[in-house]
Amino acid sequence: MVYPMTEKELIRACQNNQREAQFTLVRLFAPRLLAVCRRYVPDGLDAEDTLQDAFVQIFSHLDQYDPARGTLWKWLCRVAVNAALKKHRLTGRWHLDRAALEDVPEIADLDHELNRLEARAIEDLIRALPDGQRQVFNLVAVEGFSHQECGELLGMATGTSRAYLARARQQLQQQIIHMETQRL
């Protein structure tokens, strides 16, 4: 017999600063959020510091979470990403020539190629991307943010975000081809 406590109840308890509920939230989501932080902050210790900042923000601003605008996980993820980006001053220094977009061909079968790889291999490929491309790819392709949300988080224009994503996909495609060539 399972009577689930609702997400709403858990959030309400956390808002009331009930330690048991807060600890439960941490225990449920911290490992996944740490994985998110590590995608943006490669250093392990820095990632945990970032996650602590993120949880302080989460418990301070939990009343701003609106279920109508998305799931709890997405909101937590957004706060964690924001904390990571701010802590490491990754925002507001992105400039890309829109004309460069025209040179980027559409990569149709990248998803198919990535599906064949293990998670660790995919992480290695993403980690090898240049900073801007990596952040945009993580935000848009992995976390599922829109280009507008990504632009807000990184302090860049929506078009720039699209360009970085296209370039990241192209780069990944080339890396996969290179990897397979080496294997052969």
Binding site: Y3, M5, E9, F23, R32
Partner: protein, 475 residues
């Protein structure tokens, strides 16, 4: 979500990843940075014993008040004398024949109320009651006339009180002297429900609310949240053993028929006052993944009820009449007449406070929907009534027509009864497997036989049950 995205397994692989970490150490570092914890719950934990103390005090106090009220009630000598005042002066006339063959006023009234234990009243009581009824009416008039209390002979079909307006010719005019709607009559007499029962009624809901507010020991809270978030609402078939119990309230309506003469002695829709009850259930149930459940088990119900109604009828009778001549000074002397035609008005007064214990086997089918900590189920089925017993006491003054002594548990049912029921239950989870609930139930027994098959009853029972439910299941 990005509209350009296609369903991607690789993305799921990444987002489902969990980085290895020491959560306890992480929490130990994080906790000092969080705002201080609120201490509100401690207040409620203190309120619980305080509430119990207050409740206990109220019960004790109400018990004292009830006893005092009972004592003062008997002491209403001016209007409601005890029957001993009459019987001391003149013993009851035995062998009149009526009492042993024809139901007395109280017997008819008592049996009409379905399960009030009418056969347990002695025939000698009928005369005693007659005496007290007459004396009561004598208190109403102060014109020097005598008032006669009579008991009719074997030919009579009634057994009543007679008031005589003419001392010289006591047989000329007789009329019923039951105090009814007259001043100082029974209908004017305030017969309160015992204060203890009133308080029990009022306290049922607050007790449940206090339980709701004070629950959740901190140590279990986290386990509840974690388990509930981690597990699906319902997966696969569930087999469960359920124990539940708690207070409730209910009313009954009934239709009672004497089997031997097909006389309907109680009308349909004679509803009693809403009074408290207690119920304990032990059930087994199977729930499909879709939420359809099948349940069967055993339940014991203790239903308190109050009957409060009267019915008038008039009849003519022929035969010897015996009784007392009672004057307005309180004196009396025996009186007898060999034969006379008289009209008699009969008033059936039914005022009982009863406790009915029932053991039933419900077998039902229904649907349950769960939503977060809430669950709602609706269903119905057959109800097998294994045993019904009764105890109670009359709310009429001692010595009054229809009065009978308090009675202890007596089995009423002469055979197993078969009925049906429908119910809705709204529950709220308190802890895993433990929930509080409110459950309105309707049950009906269309052809129940009781008291050695003397009476056939049809009754409906509407019952609002509350309580705590503990469920042991395979999930």
């Amino acid at each position: 979500m990005n509209q350009d995205q296609q369903p991607q397994d690789w993305r799921k692989k990444l987002t489902d990843q969990q980085a290895p970490m020491d959560v306890d150490r992480f929490w130990a570092q994080l906790e000092p940075q969080l705002p201080p914890q609120r201490k509100r719950r401690a207040f409620w934990w203190w309120m619980l014993p305080v509430g119990l103390l207050v409740a206990g005090g109220l019960f004790w106090w109400s018990g004292q008040q009830t006893e005092l009220a009972d004592e003062s009630h008997v002491g209403h000598g001016a209007f409601i004398p005890s029957h001993s005042a009459i019987t001391d002066e003149q013993p009851p006339v035995e062998g009149s024949g009526v009492s042993s063959e024809i139901p007395t006023t109280s017997e008819v009234a008592g049996s009409g109320s379905a399960d009030q234990g009418s056969p347990r009243r002695s025939s000698s009581h009928s005369l005693q009651r007659s005496g007290s009824g007459a004396q009561l009416s004598s208190g109403q008039e102060n014109d020097g006339h005598l008032h006669t209390v009579s008991t009719m002979g074997p030919e009579s079909h009634s057994h009543d009180h007679v008031e005589e307006n003419n001392r010289d010719n006591p047989l000329e005019t007789r009329r019923q002297s039951f105090p009814t709607d007259e001043p100082n009559g029974l209908s004017e007499t305030v017969i309160p429900m015992p204060a203890r029962q009133e308080i029990q009624q009022v306290m049922t809901l607050p007790a449940v609310l206090i339980g709701e507010l004070a629950y959740r020991p901190p140590a279990l809270q986290e386990a509840v949240i974690e388990r509930s978030l981690a597990a699906p609402v319902r997966s696969g078939w569930e087999w469960a053993l359920v124990a539940s119990g708690g207070p409730g309230m209910g009313i009954r309506s009934l239709q009672a028929e004497r089997v031997e003469d097909a006389d309907w002695i109680a009308d349909r829709k004679r509803t009693e006052r809403l009074l408290e009850s207690w119920q304990v259930r032990l059930m087994g149930e199977v729930v499909t993944p879709q939420g359809v459940y099948l349940e069967a088990g055993l339940q014991w119900t203790r239903q308190n009820e109050r009957l409060d109604w009267s019915k008038d009828s008039t009849s003519w009778t022929w035969g010897p009449a015996t009784g007392f001549l009672v004057d307005d000074q309180g004196g009396s002397q025996p009186w007898q007449d060999s034969a006379a035609w008289s009209s008699y008005s009969l008033r059936r007064e039914v005022r009982h406070y009863n406790r009915i214990s029932t053991i039933e086997v419900p077998i039902g089918l229904g649907y349950e929907h769960r939503l977060g900590v809430w669950s709602i189920r609706a269903g119905g089925g057959l109800m097998i009534n294994l045993r019904q017993s009764f105890s109670g006491r009359s709310l009429l003054p001692q010595g009054w027509p229809g009065y009978w002594e308090q009675e202890e548990d007596l089995a009423l049912r002469s055979r197993i009864g078969l009925g049906y029921y429908g119910q809705i239950r709204v529950g709220r989870r308190l802890l895993p497997g433990l929930e509080m609930f409110v459950q309105p139930t309707w049950s009906a027994y269309p052809g129940d036989r009781q008291e050695g098959d003397q009476f056939r009853l049809k009754y409906d029972h509407i019952h609002l049950q509350t309580g705590i439910r503990w469920r042991l299941s395979n999930h």
